[in-house]
């Protein structure tokens, strides 16, 4: 299954923006009301409110599942996740079928990822039922779960490692972190999660044929470095009536992550760092900007990730695919587009694609 490869290409990037659009200001008024009725000491309440106002400063939006305020238990959250996945997959499949139907492409593998919910059967089966004869009965269907924000690049990396008998591969990422919004929390890190994330979905058509599809981004390099020994607890699930977003220590989180990413990238060559086109996972504005400064990136290089974050917030594993899509449209032919993602585990993925077509 694994072997020496020729170059593979991303022939299409498909994006889904579903649900409702919520601004920082709209969220803040609901969040403030929720914090006002929490059973906490006055000082604790003021600290939470101050943190919320900082997390939601300025104009930023995100997509949410409908009626997220009504999600109060495992059942309603899990059902909202399943319903949201269905909407996202429908939106993606329409675009994928438009791209592949006329050429009769059949996917040899369907690799999917999500970390913001659990489904059985998984996403790969659910999208396959929608793709009809574009997936064979003996195609590989594989769900990557619990992999966090790097999930989509991990799936891309896996696709690139499969042997050449896998001609056409579909990578799908769906994240609905707003099904986790917890209005009863008293810990700052859970509220940080409430403020940071937004929903989204994306898919990649990957093949060994430069001429297929609407574009051809050559997968030149993807590197994967895990730092589990140092960073296992940095980002993790907690448990309340559902999964909750937890950090080892919200006060040192940005510094800890920045240190691990900088450590991983300390050996990369200057040529990679100097490239102007970057798709960086927008974990949060503070981490994004500090990381950019640490790596010596220009504001222009940071702009696509910041623009994405301002509109969609952190879509977990989906964000980097949306940013790559935006960059791929505007980058000149021959341009190299750097990828950099980091997330729970802890792990860092980086590399680049080259726009051939």
């Amino acid at each position: 299954m694994f072997g020496v490869l020729e170059v593979r290409y991303i022939n299409g990037i498909y994006k889904a923006v579903t649900g409702e659009t919520w601004s920082n200001q709209d969220l803040l008024s609901h969040y403030e009301q929720a914090v006002d009725v929490l059973s906490v000491h006055h000082d604790e309440r003021e600290k939470l409110l101050a943190s919320l106002r900082f997390f939601l400063l300025g104009n930023r939006t995100r997509q949410t599942v409908p009626d997220w305020m009504a999600l109060t238990g495992f059942s309603s959250r899990a059902q909202a996740f399943e319903a949201g996945v269905a909407v996202a997959l429908d939106a993606l499949v329409g675009q994928i079928l438009n791209a592949v139907t006329s050429s009769g492409v059949v996917f040899d593998a369907v690799l999917t990822t999500t970390s913001s919910g659990n489904l059985m059967p998984g996403l790969s089966y659910r999208i396959t039922t929608r793709l009809g004869n574009h997936v064979r009965s003996d195609s590989m269907l594989l769900d990557l779960g619990n992999v966090g924000c790097t999930g989509s690049v991990k799936a891309l990396n896996l696709a690139n490692q499969l042997d050449l008998s896998f001609k056409n591969i579909l990578v799908v990422s769906v994240e609905l972190p707003t099904t986790l919004i917890n209005l009863m929390a008293t810990d700052v890190d859970i509220w940080q999660g409430n403020c940071t994330f937004g929903d989204g979905a994306a898919a990649l058509w990957i093949s060994d044929d430069v001429a297929q599809g609407s574009t051809a981004l050559a997968l030149e390099q993807i590197r994967y470095i895990q730092k589990a020994q140092a960073g296992l607890g940095l980002i993790r699930w907690g448990y309340d009536d559902y999964y909750t977003f937890r950090l080892a220590d919200e006060k040192t989180f940005n510094k800890d992550v920045r240190g691990l990413v900088a450590d991983v990238l300390s050996g990369v060559n200057d040529e990679w760092l100097a490239r102007p086109h970057w798709a960086i996972h927008p974990a949060g504005i503070a981490l994004l900007m500090r990381l950019g400064r640490k790596l010596g990136l220009s504001q222009e290089a940071m702009k696509p990730s910041i623009v994405h974050y301002n509109q969609f917030s952190n879509m977990s594993s989906v964000s980097i695919l949306h940013i790559l899509s935006d960059l791929a449209v505007n980058a000149p032919f021959g341009a190299e587009i750097n990828l950099l993602s980091m997330g729970a585990g802890f792990n860092v993925m980086y590399g680049y694609v080259r726009k051939e077509r």
Binding site: A50, F54, L57, G58, R60
Partner: protein, 88 residues
């Protein structure tokens, strides 16, 4: 460094961050009037850290919620001074 020096650095940062807006003396201006986005806040914080020449393991992010409160730059400079005295 005392609060007055920190305030001077803040004034310089505001002028640098918002070159098209003439704020004059921002001592008694609310921080949130000038720093309207999280991007503004982080640029301001990181530039201030560089000007203060802080040690690698000390940053001003612990004060970030203060930037979203209705306090003046003069008051914020005192907060920074107190924070640095406690940290260094």
């Amino acid at each position: 460094m005392v609060g007055a020096d920190i305030l001077d650095l803040m004034k310089k940062q505001v002028a640098s961050l918002k070159p098209d807006e003439n704020w004059g003396d921002v001592s008694h201006v609310s921080v949130t009037e000038v720093l309207k986005t999280s991007f503004d806040v982080m640029e301001f914080v990181m530039n201030l850290e560089e000007d203060l020449d802080l040690k690698e393991d000390i940053d001003l992010e612990a004060l970030a919620p203060k930037f979203a409160q209705n306090i003046t730059f003069e008051e914020l400079a005192v907060e920074v001074e107190n924070y640095l005295v406690a940290e260094i």
